[in-house]
Structure formats: structure tokens, C-alpha cells
Subunit: 479 residues, 2 copies
Amino acid sequence: MSKKNKGFVQQITDMDGDFAQWYTDVVKQADLIDYGPVRGTMIMKPYGYALWEHIRDVLDNRIKQTGHSNVQFPLFIPESLLQKEKDHIEGFAPEVAWVTHGGSEELHERLVVRPTSEVLFCDYYARNIHSYRDLPMLYNQWANVVRWEKTTRPFLRSLEFQWQEGHTAHATHEEAEIETRQMLDVYTEIVENQLAIPVIRGTKTENEKFAGAVYTLTIESLMHDGKALQSGTSHHLGTGFAESFNITYLDEKGTQNHVHQTSWGITTRLIGALIMVHGDQSGLVLPPKVAPTQAILIPIAQHKDGVLDKARAILHQLTPHIRIQLDDSDKTPGWKFNEHEMKGVPIRIELGPKDIEKNQAVLVRRDTREKIIVSLEALPTALTQLLETIQSDLYQTAKEKQLAKTTSVSSFVEFAASLTSNPGFIRAMWCGETACEKAIKEQTGATARCIPFEQASLSEHCVYCGKEAQKEVYWAKAY
Amino acid sequence: MSKKNKGFVQQITDMDGDFAQWYTDVVKQADLIDYGPVRGTMIMKPYGYALWEHIRDVLDNRIKQTGHSNVQFPLFIPESLLQKEKDHIEGFAPEVAWVTHGGSEELHERLVVRPTSEVLFCDYYARNIHSYRDLPMLYNQWANVVRWEKTTRPFLRSLEFQWQEGHTAHATHEEAEIETRQMLDVYTEIVENQLAIPVIRGTKTENEKFAGAVYTLTIESLMHDGKALQSGTSHHLGTGFAESFNITYLDEKGTQNHVHQTSWGITTRLIGALIMVHGDQSGLVLPPKVAPTQAILIPIAQHKDGVLDKARAILHQLTPHIRIQLDDSDKTPGWKFNEHEMKGVPIRIELGPKDIEKNQAVLVRRDTREKIIVSLEALPTALTQLLETIQSDLYQTAKEKQLAKTTSVSSFVEFAASLTSNPGFIRAMWCGETACEKAIKEQTGATARCIPFEQASLSEHCVYCGKEAQKEVYWAKAY
Ligand SMILES: [Zn+2]
Ligand SMILES: [Zn+2]
């Protein structure tokens, strides 16, 4: 190994032996992040941030198409403001960062670094909503938030993370309901179509819902190790915040009413999901739609006459069609193969003297390693089609893995056993009692991920207490 | 005035009577911002944030075209890290916010909410730069920063603001010099071509340079009231930070060297500049290139048969060409005129029954109020051309105002007098002594804005002490 390559593409941990360590290795080796100087903070490096930009840009476009406007609210929340909504402060107070001094002076009132911004939007709505004509208010912001987590992992749980938070106010409960569901649909579309990650859609239990919400809708995805990851949530806040903050509007009949609110968000956690759903023993595997580089062109025997010239001509030809890069560094082809596999580039294009002679290039799929020989003229079309195929295959593969890791059970013995024999989603009936839900969590570590929209009747009895079943629930250990 | 319009398009303060109050009125009436619950913080409302998005997107594109990658560094800086560079901590310590508690626990080490991120990038560079092959490192981030300012004004000086901060590391002093200048050129291009704001380009004096820099380049613009506003800065950091943080690389000959760094930034202050350069007694005047809405279509007698249908057809026809909106609300045309004038929409399109009969529309320029009658077929071309004309006219008008408010003086008596008789830029020679610069500031309130790149020899003597002149300097009272 040449000296200059020191530190890159080292062996990574076996993913089936120690998945957590494999994850950490991939995150570092694929050049996604570095650690910040404060415990639990991370630096999103160019490759990791480009991935986020691709997710963000598509979602931002959908958020605007659905009638929302971007805004930017402040980072700091006065302590008294956070305390206005009782459930909310109880949910967040244990995990916030406190600003106590500005310059050399101690502040009269402590400030919270926003863990989420409901109370800031409520305070604004209370001052700015007067009449039904002001409704709906459809706001979104891209922002950093801080939660003082004890144990942290890059992307999955960090002291500070990037996210998008939507905050809306409506005239009626039904309008807020439609909004809550619409944004879950948008998230589903992004996560399934862009990230190629299949999700289970449903409602959170009372116990798992957002602090201060009437109900929380969620999309849940399943990682390679059988653990679930909450991938996006959309909350119907009802009138609870509006009552605490006195957010009212005058309707057409001249009556004062409280507004009905929603909030919804996705975070950089989605990058963690990408890694853990599609990744393999060689590193990242990125879906073409969000891959910063969709194809990497690697010249073979690049010192030979004409190879680099031809490679550059092909790069030039393909640039309008796909996100392509040429690796003409002085590393060996084998080294480059490993490096771009680690980074999950969907297609490798190999071009050597013999290929040029035959007027062809070799395409290698990152996901299946399949090799496809294509004539140079056919490259733009072949690549565009192959990217689409990879995108759809990644989704299919992930869906099959998710189904294979999903077990329907009708007894608690089966429930507990399946967590070891086939870690993943457990579908089981539930009586609706929080006591049962908590007992299951305590005894197995699995939590209620969601009450799926599409309900099946697997049994007539609660999997834990045996009483009459009310709902089918997806359970899993979760990140 | 109908009740539902209450609160909008009220009379604003006379701009030549009380410019500060006019500014505050415009910022609120044009719906750019609201105030946050913490003193000195602001909420960027949809219209204000859309303006920022237009500036950001163009600049982001240029930053990427010039070879930089976006990254995202953490919000928090450990106190010990900030203290590593002596000048830097002295410059920033008095105005930072301190996090002292996380959850219910007091932290072992206080954290600073980033006022700027040099030390975070330096800490990263020290760990990640090893060889000349790692250079240059060309990073940028879009982020929020916090400075604990005593007196604040929306956009101009706030506790928290949005900005872009570039941080680069290079092998040589010369490369860093080229980078520093290149980014000032990019800023010049954005501010002059997109925002239509003419700037004076130059170097800051030692006294005014960035804390920790070898030198600071700046673009300075002039507001309607004759005060200057620093609109973008680019710092050559030399090896000072590299020495404090031990950032070294091995060159091709095997020698360890310190890297040479730069940093550069522009902020939401630019929105303040837009307001104060182009605004008039009716509110905002936006340059077409950054205007969220470039043309507003206002139907006249919209209740009459066919008017709204025709307006919608025209909207549909024009949407691919320009950023256009139709105001079909039930407000009166006069009310709509005022509202969109306040918001600075570059062109108003009036369309009434008589216009439809004559197959025409009336275009009204926001900047000059000029009315232009255009046949409906010619609308796309006429609008596109008119937007270009407005963009270029706004720049010309601003340039003429800037020149008219620029006075060359050769004595301190003239200097002091011109600050009252014609507030604006004062061009005067300087001996290079900080003592003179500080005396001028104390006695007049004017600061050295920059030592312009294009030097004139106005006199052989320093305007203050009479000693031999070294440099021409642009002076002004400043925001
Ligand atoms: Zn039960
Ligand atoms: Zn002097």
C-alpha cells in the first residue's frame, strides 16, 4: 500500500459480527463525518453533506409544492416560553442545553438552545393570527437543533443535528388532520422513492407520541441488523398548544376559536438509515437518486497513450446526463475500486486500452457487482437506464429483507423467541393498554413502533395480556 | 380601509426625516421579519427568507463553481479551543453566548455558541491535513452564528444571524492570497450584479481587520443616508492560526510547513443593504434578480366578465419566463398597488376590461413609476427585457448616488464639514498611523472603511496629522 493512501480504505469490521462497529467504520471510512470537539457532535464532511443536500433539495421542493413557505426562527428560547406547554416541557427539559451568560453578564432568564421549535412558532402565531383569512399558516424551516443526549452515535443520535421542521396552523381539526397525513405521504415518497427505503406507515401509541401532540404519525424502516429506525414523524397537535399560547382566530361568523396545529420533521438520521439499510461488507451502497456521484469513471493503464484523453472525452460526453466523476489520480485501479465501493458510488465505469480498441466500456454495479459491457455510443442511455434499475432494485431488495425480517406472532413466547431467532419487526395484536406496552418493552426491549394504517387481524387476543385485541402493532427494538 | 386589511400598508416614516425609523417600518411593513422572544433576535418571515434564498442560491453556486465543498461544523466550541488563538479570543470573548448546563448538569467546561468557526476548522485541519496532497482544503458552510450585541437592528446587527463562512487551507502564502482575492471578487460580482449595489473594494486598516488575520479585504457599500455598510469580507489568515493549532503538512521535499489559511463570509446584512440602498418612500425596491416575485399581475375591475379568466391565462403564459404572481384577492386595486410597492415587486402588470379589449396590458416600473403599454403577445419579451433594464438602472442609479455622496478632501476641516454637508464616503490621504485613524474616529465618528485597491494621490499629506501620506483611504460613518 503506497504511503499517500495511508488511512483510507482500511479493512472494516464484519457487519454481521459487530454491526455497531461496522457502522462506525463505514461512517468514517466513507468520509461522511468527523467528530467535533464537543462530545456527541459531528462534522459533516463534503461527501456526507452532499448526501444531505440531495435529500434536502428534493424534500424542500416538495414542501414548497405543497404550499409551504420557508422561514427562519431563532435558536434561543426563553425558559418561560418553553414552560408554557406542560407536556412539552416535561418531554424536553431533561435534554436541553442552557445558555446562562451573554458576554460577561449573567442573564436574567436562562435560554434554551432549541431542541425543537413548537413554542417559538406558537408565540409567533399568537401574535400574528387574527382572522380565518390568516389561515392556514404553512411554515417550514431547515435548522440545527440541540438535544443533550447521554449516548450518541453519528447521524443516529447526536447532541446537535440538522433537520427540517414544519409548523402549521389551521382553522379546523380536519384540515390539520389532512395536513398531518399529507406530510407523512411526502416523507413516504421521499424515503421510498429517493432513498429506496421501504417503510411501515402508521400511528404512534399514546406512550410513544410526541410530547404535546394529540397523535403522531410515523414512518418506520428496518435496518440490516433487524432494528427499526423512526424515519419521519408528523404530529397533529390539536388545540393544546393553541390553548396554552392563546392562539385564536375570528371565524366567518364572528366567533373566536383556537387554531389546530401540526408539526412534522425529518433529520440527518435518514443518512444513518441509508447506511444501515443498503450498506454491505464493502461499505456504503447509495441509491442513485441521492448519490453525490452516480458513476465513477476509472481509467485502466491510464499511463498508456490515449487512455486518459478518451476518459476525459467520455466524462465530457456524460456530464450533462448523470453526476459523474473521473478518478485520474495516481492510485492503482484496485485501490480506486475499493475507495469508490466504500463510498457507495452506484456504478463504476472501467475503461482500458482494450476497451478503447473495442469501442466499449465496462460498467460494474455497486449493489450486485454485475459487469455489463456497453459500446461507447450507447453509454448515456445505458447508464441512465442502469441507474433507474439500481434504484428500483435497491428498493426491492430492501423490501424483501424487511419482509423476511418481519414475523407475525400470536403469543408472547413466540414474540420473545422471534427477537432472537429473526430480529426485526414483530407484528402482534395489542389490547390498547399502556401497561401491556410497557411490560413488553421492559421484558424484551422491543417498543411499539406503530399501529399500522393497514390493519390485519392476526388474533383476537392481546399478545401480552390475552385480553381482547384492539389493534395490530408493529414492534421492534429500535435506534 | 376595509377591516381585513387592518395592519398592512400603513403610512411609513419619512425616510429623509428619520431614516432609522423608516428602515424599521419598511422591514415590518414589507413583511420581511418579526421579532423573536429573545431581545435582538429576529424571525425571517416567508418574504424575507425567500429573498435570502435567492441570494444564497446564486452565491452557493459560485462557491461550488470555484471548487469549494459545503460542510457542516458544530454549533458549540469548547472554551479552551476558542482560547488557542490569542487575538481571536480577545476579539470575540466579550460578545459570545455561553452554554453552562446540559440537561440538569453543570458542564465541566463552558461552551461558546459559535460567533464564527475559525477555531473549529483549525482543530479539524490539524487532525486531517498531513501532506501537500491534502491541500488545498476548500470548505464552506451555511450556518447561524451568535454574537451578544448590546444594540441590535434587524438584519444589520442581531444576536443571531445567518451567514456563509468559507474556510480554506493552502500550501503557500501566495495561494492563500489568490483565494482571498478570488472570494472578494465573487462577493463583488454577487453584490454588484445580483443586488445591484455598487461597492468600493479594498483592504481594511490594521485597526479594522479581522481578529487574527494578516489582512482583511472588504467590499463597502453606501446607504441612502450616507452611512457605509461592510458588505462582505475575505481574510488572509496567514500562518497565525496554523501555528496556534499546529496545522502542518509535509511538502514534496519532506519538510514540515504550516498551512496558510483564509476565511470569508457574507451575511443576512446584505438584505439590510438592499433595503437601504434601493428603498424609497413607498417601501422596498428589489432588484429583479433577487426579487422573490418579479412581476405582480393585478386585475382591474376583476368582477367583470372575462377579466380574471384572461388574467389567469396570462399568468399561465408568463410563469415559465419570470417569477410572477396574480393578486386576485378581494382587496381594491389601489390597495394592491400599495402593498406590492411596499414589497418592492419590480413590475406591476395592470389588466382591466379596456386593456383586454385593446389586447394590451399596462406595465408599471416600481423604481421609476414609468408606465408602459404592451400588447399581450409581446408580454414575455417585454417583461424579460424590462427586468434587465430595471436591474441595470438600479445599479446605475445607486452608483450615481454613491458618487454624489463621495467627497474628496485634503484637510481635516473639509473632512469634518463634509460629514454634515454631504454625508457619505470621504476620500482622504492617510499617513498609515493607527493613532491618526483613531483620532479621526474619535473626533468625527467616521472610520476607515478601506484602503481602496485603486489608489489615487489626492494630496501629499495625511488629512489629519499632515505628515507624509502613504495611502488613500475611504472613510465614512458606518453601520
Ligand atoms: Zn394487553
Ligand atoms: Zn496621520
